[in-house]
């Protein structure tokens, strides 16, 4: 178990980890004290120095993002936390908010102070009502404790924190669509420039950060840059939450330094389910090109995954064993993207509509190998042609599955049907009478 490095998840097993008392007992809100005694710019510099990178998927340096906010411009600034966790396979922010909401609130106070924001927002996906209630209670408790509101800790810093429930759209995880949605419009990505750092929420300088990025800030402030830098790899510093799901014995969240491998994570998760072998997996949700057995030792940091042809993404490791039909899995993902396409731009809107129909035909074994080439050509006309990255995500599973499993697609066509028993891949496979 030595590979694990629980920081955010260190006290998840305590019955009251989510309460203000529980958080405080474990040293919570000490970092705020420290930060409010620093100059805001020094806080930004500290986060820059730590090398913390965005945990929402793109891995953009958090401190640099904060540094983009024009200072002394006389305008309101906003900090917006992206808690619209919806990437298939991703399950890190929601358990974090259930078990340790105050780490986020503390991070928000520090981040807002650093970028001189007096208003902060948490944009939470609307389906998770239990999380909403828990975060709402935590915010109330923080207000009651004088950690939010006027003159925080008597340091003259004011911060209002608003929790906003989205209405269930994957696209609202895209930061500009999130801002539109937060403003009360339909969530569709905005044209950039202007970037949110210049004209974000209500056309004011705005930082949009992922839950985990902000929740990691208090630990960095409390323990220092060196402590943080001691973890991770050269360009990917620190700890992070990996979520393992699918055909593993013990799925769940594993907090470890960046750069850990799937082989190591699988050991901790008890391995692939009994009697089966790994077939393919995603390193960071369905939008990241899939990996196979041969990638078990790829270091799971931004560079390592990138070098192997995928992206670290949200570190959502979806594990599929040999019972899974890759065509069927890709079809399911594609249906998700079709459902979630916002409709703004042509390639994503029309492309996902087409891809679902094309994949359904292939999964049913109808078509020829020319149709496989056609599928790749359609994807080529979608990926990199769309307004935002949603369509790129939709293209990823298709391109990567065709790269590693083209013969399996072909087998469908040769057979005229799917060669797999869909029940075999389910949890209730053995229960069949």
């Amino acid at each position: 178990m030595s590979k694990l490095k629980p920081v955010l998840s260190a006290h998840w097993d305590e019955a009251d980890s989510f309460t203000l008392e529980g958080y405080r007992r474990n040293g919570g809100y000490a970092a705020v004290k420290k930060a409010l005694d620093m100059e805001p710019d020094a806080v930004i510099q500290l986060i820059k120095d730590s090398g913390l990178r965005g945990r929402g998927g793109a891995g953009f340096p958090t401190g640099m993002k904060w540094g983009f906010i024009p200072q002394n411009d006389g305008k309101d600034h906003y900090l917006v936390v992206n808690a619209d966790e919806s990437e298939p396979g991703t399950c890190k922010d929601m358990p974090l908010l259930m078990a340790n909401p105050h780490s986020l609130i503390e991070g928000i106070i520090i981040g807002s102070y650093a970028i001189r924001a007096n208003y902060a927002f948490i944009y939470l996906r609307g389906e998770v009502v239990h999380v909403y209630r828990r975060v709402q209670k935590a915010i109330e408790d923080a207000y009651a404790a004088g950690l939010l509101g006027k003159n925080i800790n008597g340091k003259g810093f004011d911060l209002e924190l608003v929790l906003h429930a989205g209405a269930g759209a994957y696209i609202c995880g895209e930061e500009t669509a999130l801002l539109d949605s937060l403003e009360g419009f339909r969530g569709q990505p905005r044209l950039r420039p202007p970037f949110p750092a210049i004209a974000g929420l209500y056309a004011r300088p705005t930082v949009v950060n992922n839950v985990e990025s902000i929740a990691s800030v208090p630990a960095i402030v409390a323990n220092g840059v060196e402590w943080f830098q001691a973890m991770g790899t050269e360009k990917s510093k620190g700890f992070t939450l990996y979520s393992l799901s699918g055909h593993v014995k013990n799925p769940g969240q594993f907090e470890a330094p960046l750069g850990i491998t799937l082989r190591e994570l699988l050991e901790m998760a008890g391995g692939i389910r009994e009697g089966h072998t790994l077939k393919f997996w995603t390193p960071g949700g369905s939008s990241t090109p899939m990996f196979t057995q041969e990638h078990l030792d790829v270091p799971l940091d931004y560079e390592g995954v990138g070098a192997a042809g995928s992206m670290l993404g949200t570190k959502a490791l979806q594990i599929f064993d040999e019972t899974t039909c890759v065509v069927r899995a890709v079809l399911r993902w594609t249906e998700f993207y079709k459902h979630e396409s916002c409709g703004k731009c042509t390639p994503c809107r029309e492309g996902t509509w087409w891809l679902v129909q094309a994949l359904k035909e292939l999964e049913a074994g109808r078509g020829t190998s020319a149709d496989l080439d056609k599928l790749l050509d359609i994807v080529d006309n979608i990926a990199g042609r769309s307004f935002c990255a949603l369509a790129d995500g939709a293209a990823s599973p298709i391109v990567s599955s065709m790269k590693y499993f083209r013969e399996e697609y072909q087998r469908h066509l040769d057979l005229g049907s799917c060669p797999f028993d869909p029940i075999a891949s389910t949890l209730f496979a053995g229960a069949r009478a």
């Binding site: 044209l191 390639p347 006309n381 042609r385």
Partner: protein, 772 residues
């Protein structure tokens, strides 16, 4: 923008060719300058970039660094050291564009053979230039019920829509009427309305015009014609003084459609729904098709032209006469009336104001308005726009769009001298004041837009004429008034702004016209002419061109009853019904001519209906004058235009400015209120006759009262009020707004509220208001 500083120029290379364009120019438009057409749908030069359709993808490189993916050329401004490769030189861009086109068509019904847009469709054209010969899509298309009425005028075929958002962006960014929006998501995304709030914008027709597919169609044109059967003629709009360039499309002699023309300095690419969709009057069954002469039996009978002209000439010869000119004549026709009055009838009794008017206004027009040179460009640069008794959205919609553009772009101040904040004023964030002397912060960059209704408030035009700081513009509602003023169709003015009272001005005209003398007395005004006609010993005959007496006063028609009337009209009307001689004249699409818009800018147009048998007023007046042996020698529109141009404009002394002091406030008590009103854009105007689809988007008729009055009467919004004088009454739903407690506002000429017909007045009269 606001100042004329030199714009930084940037040179970029597109497909190997250098082009230099102003900083901020988008790649797609820089390419246009080279003649390189990048296909596009969502891009529109007057709308903010969307980048939604992705059809215009090109390869871009800056300072030697290439973007990894093709970029939407409609969203990226040019930069120094930029190299762009379009579909002409980049295989990647070419494939990207072809890919997008294929995707755009997978859910498109391809029902071009039954689509109005077929033949003039950007999707069709660009599918030919950029698409594949056959789709590889063999699946199921998305289908919708078709079409959906999003207003009584506009129909939406969702299946055809490519979701470019031009229509929704237009409505929000240009018209300020965000009544349509995109709903749903993914391939089910669609344009929609809030079910209780249809697309009732005065500018909705523009969305039909800029729709790059056949998704939005006009109810009155749908399925009527194929573009290739139409003959198109550039025209000018006759509906108001905004001066829109139009295109008139005619098939086999019938006007089927009018579109906004492009004129960057006037209407940009827009027009209002009235200008677009009110033209059925031209082909109405009520058109006068041959000369009519009243016989011994008292009835009108068809007559030959020689007979009718002889009758008209005989009736006018040697009589004391007056000439009433409607507000929609062309400059050439107005010049014909002006010269006819002076030469053939020997009088200055001519007035183009067929609406409430005063002598103060005549003095303002002759001294000030006739030479005003304020333009749309001044609005573009203004720091503050003041509206004086002028509701641009109702009375000159393109002026509204222009002011709104600057309100959006530069947040300029707008002040309106008005009884309350109309919807248009609310969109302009206008500050409402009750009189001109309350207007603050006027600089030399401010623009004061004065409406024709300023004449209805004593002293107001005197104050305007005396103002010296800001730029002044006079914006009449009708298209012909500025031209008629220039042509001298007014009792105190000769053509070119020459005062009748000035001997040397008269000599100018005398010599040009080759006449011995011109009448020297200042002519009577419209109301004076009418009064005199019905007075024994007064005027004995009238020439009436396109005037609706109900626009002037409730008594006007009666005043014409016992006199010799020659009516020049396009359609049967109250005047033709009592006229002695009726002479049919050409409607605007049947003739050539010129309007002067409110700026004084000439808006020339050609005959759109080729071979129309009807003639312009000036030609007919010339024939009557010949018959009277007092020729005016204007046998054609061209000859009138040439002669007027040769006269030039007067640079001598002007008529003195008016100096009327303002009237005391009328005091009201009890249920009394002071009436105030204006004409809404879409109302009962005679040129809108028969346009049911257009009428469906008229704003509802309401009576605007203050909250205090509403309380006193015990009425809520929507409760009916009865408004009456001893002449008549109307019953109209109440709308409570911030209007003065003494006032009540009614639409001047809308369904259920015609103030001149009912009360004999439009402004300032006392009415009694009770709960109905």
């Amino acid at each position: 923008m606001t100042t004329d500083v030199a714009v930084e120029m940037i040179t970029v290379v597109i497909d190997g060719f250098e082009v230099t364009v102003p900083k901020g120019t988008l790649i797609i438009r820089a390419a246009e300058k080279l003649g390189i057409q990048i296909p596009r749908f969502c891009d529109h030069p007057l709308l903010a970039p969307a980048g939604a359709c992705r059809q215009c993808l090109v390869d871009v490189e800056i300072n030697g660094r290439a973007f990894p993916k093709p970029q939407a050329s409609c969203t990226i401004p040019v930069e120094p050291n930029m190299i762009v490769k379009t579909q002409l030189t980049s295989p990647v861009a070419e494939k990207a564009q072809k890919g997008i086109m294929e995707l755009l068509l997978i859910n498109h019904p391809l029902d071009c053979p039954v689509c109005d847009k077929g033949g003039e469709c950007p999707l069709q054209n660009q599918a030919m230039s950029t698409g594949r010969t056959e789709s590889r899509f063999t699946g199921v298309k998305r289908t919708f019920e078709k079409p959906v009425n999003i207003s009584s005028q506009v129909l939406l075929d969702r299946e055809r829509c490519v979701l470019c958002a031009r229509c929704t962006r237009f409505s929000e960014q240009i018209a300020g009427d965000p009544f349509i929006t995109l709903n749903e998501r993914g391939a089910l995304q669609q344009v929609g309305i809030y079910e209780k709030d249809p697309f009732n914008s005065y500018f909705s027709g523009n969305t039909v015009q800029i729709c790059p597919v056949g998704a939005l169609t006009g109810a009155s044109y749908r399925f009527r014609a194929r573009p290739f059967d139409l003959v198109s003629t550039p025209s000018a709009c006759e509906h108001c003084a905004a001066g829109c360039a139009l295109r008139t499309d005619v098939r086999r002699g019938k006007t089927l459609r009018r579109l906004a023309g492009d004129d960057a300095s006037v209407n940009e690419e827009w027009n209002c729904d009235k200008g677009r969709w009110a033209f059925k009057y031209i082909s109405s069954k009520e058109r006068v098709t041959s000369p009519l002469v009243r016989g011994e039996d008292g009835e009108l009978h068809e007559a030959s032209w020689p007979e009718a002209l002889a009758k008209a000439a005989a009736g006018l010869a040697g009589k004391r006469a007056g000439v009433l000119v409607g507000g929609r004549v062309t400059v050439e026709d107005a010049y014909g009336y002006s010269k006819f009055a002076r030469v053939a009838l020997g009088t200055n009794n001519i007035d183009f104001r067929s609406r409430p008017h005063t002598d103060e206004e005549a003095a303002f027009l002759a001294s000030t308005a006739v030479s005003l040179q304020t333009t749309y460009t001044d609005i573009d640069k203004a720091d503050h726009v003041v509206l004086v008794n002028f509701e641009p959205e109702d009375e000159s919609p393109i002026v509204f769009l222009r002011v709104y553009k600057q309100v959006r772009k530069r947040s300029i101040a707008v002040t309106t001298v008005a009884p309350f904040a109309s919807r248009g004023s609310e969109k302009l964030n206008a500050t409402v004041v009750s009189s001109f002397d309350q207007v603050k912060n006027l600089t030399e960059k401010s623009v004061v837009l004065v409406g024709e209704r300023a004449a209805e408030v004593p002293g107001l035009l005197s104050a305007i004429a005396a103002h010296t700081t800001a730029k002044i513009a006079w914006i009449p509602r009708r298209s012909g008034e500025r031209g008629a003023l220039h042509a001298g169709a007014l009792g105190n003015l000769l053509p070119g702004g020459r005062p009748v009272s000035d001997a040397s001005a008269r000599v100018d005209i005398q010599s040009a016209w080759g006449v011995q003398s011109l009448p020297t007395d200042i002519g009577l005004s419209t109301s004076e002419i009418l009064a005199s006609l019905s007075t024994p010993g007064g005027l004995e005959a009238a020439v009436v061109g396109g005037v609706d007496p109900a626009d002037i006063s409730a008594d006007a028609l009666g005043q014409l009853l016992n006199t010799f009337v020659v009516s020049l009209e396009i359609s049967h009307s109250a005047v033709t019904a009592i006229a002695d001689v009726v002479l049919p004249v050409a409607a605007v699409t049947e003739k050539a001519g010129t309007f002067l818009d409110w700026e004084g800018r000439a808006r020339n147009f050609d005959q759109a209906i080729e071979g129309a048998l009807t003639r312009s007023d000036v030609r007919i007046l010339s024939m009557i004058a010949d018959e009277m042996k007092k020729p005016i020698a204007l046998p054609s529109v061209t000859s009138a235009a040439k002669e007027l141009a040769s006269l030039g404009t007067w640079d001598g002394a002007k008529v003195s400015k008016p100096s009327v002091s303002s009237a005391n406030k009328v005091s009201v008590s009890g249920n009394e209120a002071v009436l105030t009103s204006w004409r809404q854009l879409i109302d009962l105007g005679s040129l809108q006759a028969g346009e049911e689809n257009l009428a469906g988007t008229a704003r509802p008729t309401v009576a605007v009262i203050s909250a205090k009055r509403a309380d006193a009467l015990g009425v809520k919004n929507g409760d009916h009020l009865k408004i009456s004088t001893d002449r008549g009454s109307v019953t109209v739903p109440a709308q409570i707004a911030a209007i003065s407690d003494e006032s009540i506002w009614l639409p001047r000429n809308s369904q259920g509220s015609q103030t001149i017909v009912t009360f004999g007045a439009a402004e300032g009269c006392l009415v009694t208001v009770v709960k109905a």
